[in-house]
């Protein structure tokens, strides 16, 4: 009944708004692409503003914009974007005839935000952005750890975004676990975007053009995850000339090349660590062998323009981590990797209609095998995903924008686990103790989304997403709704509500992501569903600053916790406990994106609670990653053309941990000593001390043989505060001691970068 109601409501909205807003044949429109004048790289989120008509738009993920219902006349069009000179163009609009014009922006240093604010408000009428954060990529690149600029690491300095520890890059966003985040690269899903056990992400910051994080209440065009959407767009490449860059760092080095290719461009970037090469130089004690470890990632993209209205994109992404250990009669190999290939076609029908079709294949695999004196074991799990998705974006009128689309996924899950000691034996020899199975699944989704402006002050966004999961025979129809009201010139209120679902579940260890295993929802577990309520106050308190104040409430049903003591895994309910969770809180985000000083101050107050029948005696508990207060201050200052400095300060409530009150000694038969066991008190009922940290960075630009170069010094954890990773009770002796395992000390690193 509910599903029929939502469908009827959407249909009513479509017809009502369509009828109330017939297209005016006397008005004109403007559409086109905005590109970098030097490289012809399309630019995302550029503001295009028709001044006298007070109409504007932002370029979308493909660099395309459209402004409709412009009265005939001669207007000045202003195009502006961070890092580029503002451009002004005079365009004559005639009755009933639209203008198609592409603009080129010239790179510069600083722009003012005056026009951007106006366009932001205009753009909000097209698509109300709830809990969306766009951080300029240049700012993200300055945030480093161990000399590595990392997208995920940068995002963790936003309010409402937490990690399980300093050495993990998995993101907990408003109480949701990392598997609840939809991570997209050029529109295609990536399943385990981490390197080095989760220490850094697989995204090469130099290959990234745009990073958009929607922390909740995301529109109907996105689905399949409960909490958030992280949308990463790779660079297209320089259309005009060949160029490149090489960077040498402590952990890894990287190189990128880009340039023109036929009617478009190409972009290629690679990164590799060389820890095993360094290890080879130093003499190793054969009695204490160290493992060999390395990782690499590769990004590639080819873009071709087919006429004025069509673009083709072929993009690929590959990452791999490998660890080999030999010693003590044991050999172990650990391999983890992602592969992604996507093909996208965009077409402009006219200034009102824009389409995109994306076909992609994504694969994530983890393989662990070993041999201990002839006892052989293997774990080999993978997920493959072939996806086709398409969308139509219709700028129907000045007041109505619609987007419709579909998505079809074909998943293949492979699970191979054999601990019998002889992986060559057949299953029947060893009584089904090994697992070797392949599961196939189709999922299909449709979505419809409308943005309607009731008047100059009030606009609404309504969407509906319907999904069908073949394995569990589940059909879900979930609405999304957002409203925006401009209270005063500098204050707008936005509210959002929506239902979100998730088919996939991740079996993982939060601090070590090597063994991540994705599982589908089968008929033994119910669908995971979340309900978001969000209210945002958007304020421009004074020039150059934007302040967002969010209040949110998120209810999650049928979420999962890994059953670490499961002895079998024939169905999904064997592997997980299923329960519920709720998170709520408030976030304050004061951002300055322009000028010599840029950065932000973010504060969040958050509460997270979970409840599982099998955990904590069925009582509600707060998870490990619940942090009540979270304060982050990020600043970057351009001293002059050569010198930049920056600082990051964080202060967070301590993580939760489980206390204990008593112990006993357990002995298996024939044992004379056994092991001590502690009896826990409330699960995650205690808190560690608060954690705080200061990171500083500085960079100097110069020329090396005439080539632009930069040396970057960053100091992680300047005052060497060793936060606690986890606390445990040491019961090795009769006296129990409480001990802490500490996290990273001060880490100064130096990197060198050269462009050619």
């Amino acid at each position: 009944m509910k599903k029929i109601f939502y469908i009827n409501l959407l249909l009513f909205f479509v017809f009502y708004t369509g009828k109330s807003n017939p297209a005016d044949p006397n008005l004109s429109g403007l559409s086109g692409y905005v590109v970098d004048s030097k490289t012809k790289e399309t630019l995302i989120a550029v503001s295009v503003y028709v001044k006298e008509a007070r109409k504007g738009a932002y370029t979308n993920k493909l660099g395309f914009f459209s402004i409709t219902n412009i009265p005939p006349g001669k207007y000045i069009v202003e195009i502006s974007f961070i890092g580029y000179d503002k451009k002004r163009d005079t365009i004559v609009f005639t009755k009933g005839s639209s203008v198609r014009k592409d603009f080129e922006l010239t790179p510069a240093s600083v722009i003012t935000d005056e026009v951007v604010v106006e366009v932001e408000r205009e753009n909000e009428k097209r698509e109300i952005s709830i809990s969306k954060v766009n951080i300029p990529v240049q700012q993200l690149k300055e945030i480093r750890i161990g000399g590595e600029a990392d997208v995920f690491r940068s995002l963790q300095y936003l309010p409402g975004v937490l990690t399980s520890s300093q050495i993990s890059s998995g993101l907990y966003i408003r109480g949701g676990s990392p598997d609840q985040n939809l991570v997209l690269v050029d529109g295609s899903t990536v399943y385990n975007p981490t390197h080095m056990f989760g220490f850094i992400s697989t995204f090469n910051a130099n290959a990234v053009k745009d990073v958009e994080l929607i922390k909740g209440g995301f529109p109907a065009e996105y689905g399949g995850r409960l909490s958030s959407v992280l949308n990463i767009t790779q660079k297209n490449g320089n259309h005009e000339e060949f160029e490149g860059m090489a960077t040498i760092g402590v952990i890894s080095s990287q190189m990128l090349v880009e340039g023109p290719l036929a009617e478009g461009s190409f972009f290629l970037a690679g990164r590799r660590t060389y820890l095993e090469l360094i290890k080879a130089v130093y003499p190793e004690d054969p009695n204490f062998p160290l493992p060999d470890f390395n990782f690499y990632d590769l990004n590639a993209k080819i873009t071709q323009d087919i006429g004025k209205n069509d673009k083709l994109f072929l993009s690929g992404f590959m990452s791999a981590d490998a660890l080999v250990y030999k010693g003590f009669g044991t050999t172990m190999n650990l391999d983890v990797g992602n592969k992604l290939l996507s093909f996208k076609w965009t077409h402009i029908f006219d200034e009102k209609l824009f389409s995109a079709l994306n076909i992609s294949g994504s694969n994530y695999i983890n393989n662990f095998n070993g041999d201990q004196s002839g006892y052989v074991f293997i774990i080999n799990n993978s997920i493959s995903d072939v996806t086709t998705k398409g969308s139509l974006e219709w700028f129907a009128s000045d007041n109505l924008t619609a987007k419709f689309g579909f998505e079809t996924n074909y998943y293949t899950y492979n699970y191979l686990q054999d601990f019998t000691g002889d992986t060559s034996s057949s299953v029947s020899d060893t009584f089904d103790v090994s697992t070797d199975m392949t599961v196939y699944q189709w999922t299909h989704s449709l979505f419809g989304q409308l943005n309607y402006n009731f008047n100059e002050l009030l606009s609404a966004q309504m969407g509906l997403r319907t999904s069908y999961w073949e394995l569990s025979k589940t059909t879900l129809i979930h609405p999304r709704l957002a409203l925006r009201y401009q209270m005063t010139e500098d204050l707008a209120i936005k509210i959002a509500w929506g239902l979100f679902d998730q088919n996939l579940r991740l079996a993982t260890q939060p601090d070590f992501t090597f063994f991540d295993t994705w599982l589908p929802t089968d008929q033994t577990v119910p669908a995971s569903v979340a309900e978001h309520y969000i209210m945002t106050f958007e304020i421009y308190p004074f020039e150059g600053y934007k302040l967002d104040f969010d209040v949110y409430y998120k209810k999650m049903n049928n979420i999962n916790e890994l059953n670490k003591k499961a002895l079998k895994g024939e169905v999904v309910s064997d592997v997980f406990f299923v329960g519920d969770g709720v998170s709520y809180g408030a976030e304050l985000f004061l951002q300055k994106s322009y000028g010599k000083l840029t950065g932000w101050l973010g504060y969040s107050l958050g509460y997270i609670y979970s409840k599982f029948d099998e955990l904590n005696n069925g009582n509600e508990f707060r998870p490990k990653y619940d942090r009540r207060h979270d304060l982050k201050i990020v600043g970057q200052y351009e001293i002059n053309d050569s010198w930049d400095v920056g600082a990051i300060f964080t202060f967070q409530s301590g993580q939760s941990y489980t206390g204990a009150t008593s112990r006993f000694q357990t002995r298996l038969p024939e044992q004379n000593y056994g092991r001590a066991k502690i009896i826990n008190s409330q699960l995650y009922g205690l808190r560690l001390p608060p954690s705080h940290q200061l990171n500083l960075n500085g960079s100097y630009k110069f020329k090396t043989f005439g080539l632009d170069s930069r040396v970057i010094l960053d100091v992680y954890n300047v005052y060497n505060r060793r936060d606690i990773w986890f606390r445990y009770y040491n019961t090795r002796e009769e006296t129990t001691t409480v001990e802490d395992v500490l996290l990273l000390p001060i880490i100064p690193t130096l990197s060198f970068e050269i462009k050619f």
């Binding site: 009695n287 204490f288 062998p289 003590f328 009669g329 201990q372 004196s373 002839g374 006892y375 601990f419 019998t420 000691g421 002889d422 060893t430 009584f431 089904d432 103790v433 308190p541 003591k565 079998k568 504060y603 005696n617 942090r627 009540r628 207060h629 202060f651 409530s653 301590g654 206390g659 204990a660 009150t661 008593s662 112990r663 006993f664 000694q665 357990t666 002995r667 298996l668 038969p669 024939e670 004379n672 000593y673 056994g674 092991r675 001590a676 066991k677 502690i678 009896i679 826990n680 008190s681 808190r687 001390p689 608060p690 445990y728 009770y729 019961t731 009769e734 006296t735 129990t736 409480v738």
Partner: protein, 284 residues
Amino acid sequence: MILKILNIALFLFILSVLTSCEDPVPFDYVEEKFVEAILIVGEPIQNIVVMRTQPLTKEYNYDSSMVKDAVVMINDGVNSLELEYKDGSYYYPDTSYRVQPQTKYKLTINFSDNKVLSGETTTPKTFNWIIPPKKQLYFPSGRDSITLPRVDSLDFEWELLTIFYMISVKCLDTLNYGIFLQPTTQELNRRISKRFSNDLRYRELTIWTFIPSNKTPVLWNYFKWYGLHEVAIWNPDKNFLNWGLQYFVDSSYDPRLSSVKGGIGVFGSASVIRDTTFLIKNQP
């Protein structure tokens, strides 16, 4: 305006500090009763340990945690057997009584404070060796190390009854070595030199592990001494299997893996096959 923002930020910061302080380690200890009782098919009822938990704030004392005055009863469906306490555990005095296979047993323990603890187990079937362990086994040659490939094997196999078994390897004599050789010598036994010097269970004579199979080559890591060893394969019931999982995984107690009511612990059973092997030193 900037001053206002700074004031707000300072207030938030102070609030954060005040409200996010570390929690002290808890000391609200509540004593619980604990039992470890494993019935072994074909063997007398013995080694049933009844204890009480102790607070973490005090030094743990194994002996003083013993409960010596409980009334421990085991019912085999026909007889009610009352156990006696001796030297740290409870046992059934009639040692001619043997635990039967495929039989349901019930445990009841009455404490002096009127608390009652109970459990049930159904003993598994018996089974046999297919390939028993070799009588003598040579440790990898060369240095006293297990970094080298194996030169011998201890492949053994047993009847397949279930998915999970447990293996125990126990050193039967840590002192003597040469007396077991032919001809005998005066050579004494010693520990195997290993690189992991801070062995968590240095004093432990018996090493346990799970095995999801009914055959295995030797795992050299499981030997801590040379000399005479007993290798035992255990076919556990579900309670004992869960308790083994409790033992191996996590340092904290998991109530879901307990099989007794009114307290914590295990009342389980197993059938077992045993044999011996002698581990020859690779050097004096």
